[in-house]
Amino acid sequence: MDPTTEFFEALNHRAPDPLLGKIRGTVRFELESGTDIDTWLLVFSAGSVSATQTDRAADCTVRTDREYFNRIAAGEANPFAALLRNRLTVEGKLFLFSYLNRLVPGTPGAHEPRDWVRGRGQR
């Protein structure tokens, strides 16, 4: 499983999140690899998120290549920065795209701030 599949599959097992409680809407991801396009549909509803490989229209459509989305799904690339450099495009309700930042993992090797302070001696 690549990071993209892992990321979407894991969303289905995510505990209901009160921080997503107000959001309703659907986001379609179109991820190109070579000539293929994989589609994923994210459904936000009352705090829970589901992700399926459904091919249908949504409130918001995100397009990029699968290789780059692997980096986002692994926490290595930032979704908003990707939008600014046109590495990824978004159409429709852009506010739904903002919530992607709450779903993707933190950057690999990121430090819990308290560990960072305690670990000064080792740096």
Partner: protein, 679 residues
């Protein structure tokens, strides 16, 4: 930046010299900017090869202005045969109408030329004329000049067109015009900046109101002014500052890329984007006047609340954002400021504003809808913010390009010992503890009244009380009689005397027995210049009257201190500070800059400009509104507004009609009765 002329519309602005021309300058970012990117770096008008000289400038609205110009250099006797009117406006696109008037009694043939270029620089690189990575091209196309910059898939373009036919070359547009005796000729130039997104279209295309025509803007501005309370007062200076502030607050609104609510750009020219801190403070300042500013700030900052741990962005779950930047360097990961979270004050201030917002507006629904964002913010204070596990809020950057200081004074030398040494990391500045205390007290009220969680409310109240006790023990410097600026990592007191202490009164963390001493120190000559309270006292090692956070005077800082003085019952001291700030605003045409110099009033007689200060600046515009609130003693109490004026004699009468709130609309009146000695 005295001789510069700016027009603005949200996060878009055009900054030129006094003739309307733009040329690269090492001192300020001149040109047309939108979304942190420069779209025009050269815009120079000539007639028959000659530059123009200004006769006068009309500042029409914040988004339009007009220059009256004549060819040639100024002499004591101007006998122009030709004059030019440049009228420019910003409404999504930049438009400039050029009108040429022939004053001769005979026909004339003239060559009019506009030199045009763009370097697509980021606002902070704009002064250095540093070349960007990527490719730049100037394309002459039928009827238009297209300037573009490409870096991988990132494409920014400026397209310039004219309503009259022009000869177009890669460096500009030329018009050969024939004018009859006393004839007139005109054309409208239009420059559009785009950043490509989906389907090659402008990434901002689906933003509501992005390309609004200016008649619409005029109508919106009228409505904005109509909704604000009406001020009638004896002081012309105060009235000017109030009107100017309302217009500037309207001018700085823009619609975000992903948020669809109005955000507040912070300050022209450096900070024409959302800053968490200034949006929260401006929201607080403007509640008695325009409560939708606070409402928008809360919603957008909730949407952008940190969701994960990211060292590069100093981001943690629950943390409220420091700033957002739209420029190219951020997109390519050259800078963390695209979405940067290195601020330790924004998170508690978010909870403070949410509570204050409800107290004024009675909008319980927002408090219920933002419950979990507010709870995450409160949780951040006790976890990620509590770096040393001692219950204080500390900061230390993890991002190599992040900010060394993460309170409102975020420059590198703003936190020092009195003798000028710099403390190590992490640091816990005093005002952060005040904000955390206030957030807990207010969070407890929200939990009890709106979230149906009395157990959580009890816990927050207990923590707040403990924090207050510990703070008054650990930060008070007994032999000096003031609070330490910060604690260092060893728990030692960072003992510089600074304005931060004034915020402690605003937050209510100061022990009642010490409040009078604190108020005295704040208004003593070392901190108080006669125009306002300096960021750092003049007897401290690092003091510099033109030091950004080490001696300059910040209106927004003073506004929170004025509120703090009133909170502890020092009405006369608050009135003294308020009248000094009102008088200072008179020297800035009613538009208080981000900061001004800390020279003593007795020495300079007028407030000296801080060289690179932003103006307009959102929380300086908000300051005027706080001064009115302070002078009239406005406070929401249950379902009504209490009014307790403390107005200096020399300000005379103040009437504020139509103050919005949970009571509907109400009025406040006050008369100058407080006797103060001249400064």
């Amino acid at each position: 930046m005295n001789d510069l002329v700016s027009i603005l519309d949200g996060n878009t602005f055009m900054l030129s010299d006094s003739t309307g021309d733009v040329e690269p300058s090492p001192n300020y970012p001149s040109g047309l900017f939108a979304w942190d990117t420069r779209f025009l770096s050269r815009w120079v008008l000539t007639i028959n090869g000659e530059r123009l000289h200004e006769l006068s400038i009309d500042d029409l609205q914040y988004f339009e202005c007009r220059f009256f110009l004549v060819p040639g250099e100024p002499t004591h006797y101007v006998d122009a045969k030709t004059s030019v009117i440049r009228q420019r406006s910003l409404a999504g696109a930049f438009e400039e109408e050029l009108t040429v008037l022939n004053h001769r009694d005979e026909p004339v043939v003239l060559t009019l030329r506009m030199e045009i270029d763009s370097d697509f620089a980021d606002v902070f690189d704009a002064r250095e004329s540093r070349s960007l990575p990527g490719r730049t091209a100037k394309l002459v196309e039928p009827g238009r000049l297209r300037l573009c910059h490409e870096r991988h898939r990132h494409v920014a373009e400026t397209i310039v067109t004219s309503s009259e036919p022009a000869e177009i070359d890669a460096d500009g547009l030329t018009f050969r015009i024939e004018l009859g005796a006393h004839g007139r000729w005109s054309t409208t130039l239009r420059a559009i900046g785009t950043i490509q997104g989906a389907g090659g279209r402008d990434v901002r295309e689906n933003l509501r109101g992005y390309q609004e025509a200016w008649p619409e803007k005029r109508r919106e501005l009228r409505e904005w002014l109509d909704q604000a309370p009406k001020l009638t007062c004896d002081s012309e200076t105060l009235d000017d500052a109030y009107q100017r502030s309302l217009v500037d607050l309207a001018a700085l609104q823009y619609i975000g890329l992903t948020s669809q609510v109005k955000l507040m750009a912070t300050g022209l020219p450096w900070y024409m984007t959302l800053f968490g801190r200034h949006s929260l403070v401006t929201g607080f300042q403007t509640l008695p006047f325009i409560p939708q500013i606070a409402r928008s700030a809360l919603w957008v900052l909730a949407l952008l609340q940190g969701g994960r741990v990211d060292d590069f962005r100093d981001e943690e779950p629950g943390k409220i954002m420091h700033e957002i930047r739209y420029g190219e360097p951020g997109g390519f990961g050259d800078s963390p400021y695209t979405t940067y979270y290195g601020a330790a004050d924004c998170t508690p201030l978010f909870v403070v504003l949410l509570d204050e917002y409800e107290r004024w507006t009675g909008d319980a629904e927002t408090v219920r809808l933002l419950e979990y964002e507010a709870r995450s913010a409160l949780a951040w204070i006790d976890t990620y913010g509590n770096l040393m596990d001692d219950g204080y809020v500390w900061y230390e950057r993890r991002s190599p390009s992040g900010l060394e200081n993460q309170g409102w004074k975020d420059s590198w030398n703003s936190v020092t010992y009195a003798d000028g040494r710099l403390p190590g990391n992490p640091r816990a500045t005093c005002e952060l503890q005040g904000y955390a205390y206030d957030a807990k007290v207010r969070g407890a009220r929200l939990a009890r009244t709106f979230w149906n969680d009395p157990a959580y409310a009890d816990r927050l109240e207990q923590e707040a009380a403990d924090l207050r006790d510990r703070f008054n023990r650990d930060f008070w410097i007994a032999d000096q009689g003031y609070y330490a600026l910060a604690l260092d990592a060893e728990g030692g007191q960072v003992d510089a005397l600074a304005s931060n202490m004034g915020h402690l009164l605003w937050s209510g963390i100061v022990d009642d027995s010490r409040a009078e001493q604190v108020a005295e120190v704040l208004l003593d000559r070392h901190l108080f210049s006669g125009w306002g309270i300096r960021t750092l006292a003049r007897d401290q090692a690092f003091y510099n009257p033109v030091g950004y956070h080490t001696g300059a005077i910040w209106p927004s800082d003073n506004s929170l201190i004025a509120l703090g003085l009133r909170r502890y019952g020092f009405a006369e001291q608050a009135a003294r500070l308020a009248v000094a700030m009102v008088e200072a605003s008179g020297y800035f045409g009613g538009r208080m800059p981000e900061a001004f110099a800390g020279y003593d009033r007795r020495r300079t007689k007028y407030p000296v400009q801080y060289p690179r200060a932003c103006s307009p600046h959102c929380s300086s515009a908000g300051t005027t509104l706080v001064l009115l609130r302070t002078l009239l003693g406005l406070r929401p109490h249950q379902d009504h507004l209490t009014i307790d004026p403390a107005i200096p004699e020399r300000l005379g009468r103040i009437e504020l009609v139509g103050i919005p709130g949970r009571w509907g609309r109400t009025d406040a009146f006050g008369r100058g009765r407080v006797h103060l000695e001249p400064e």
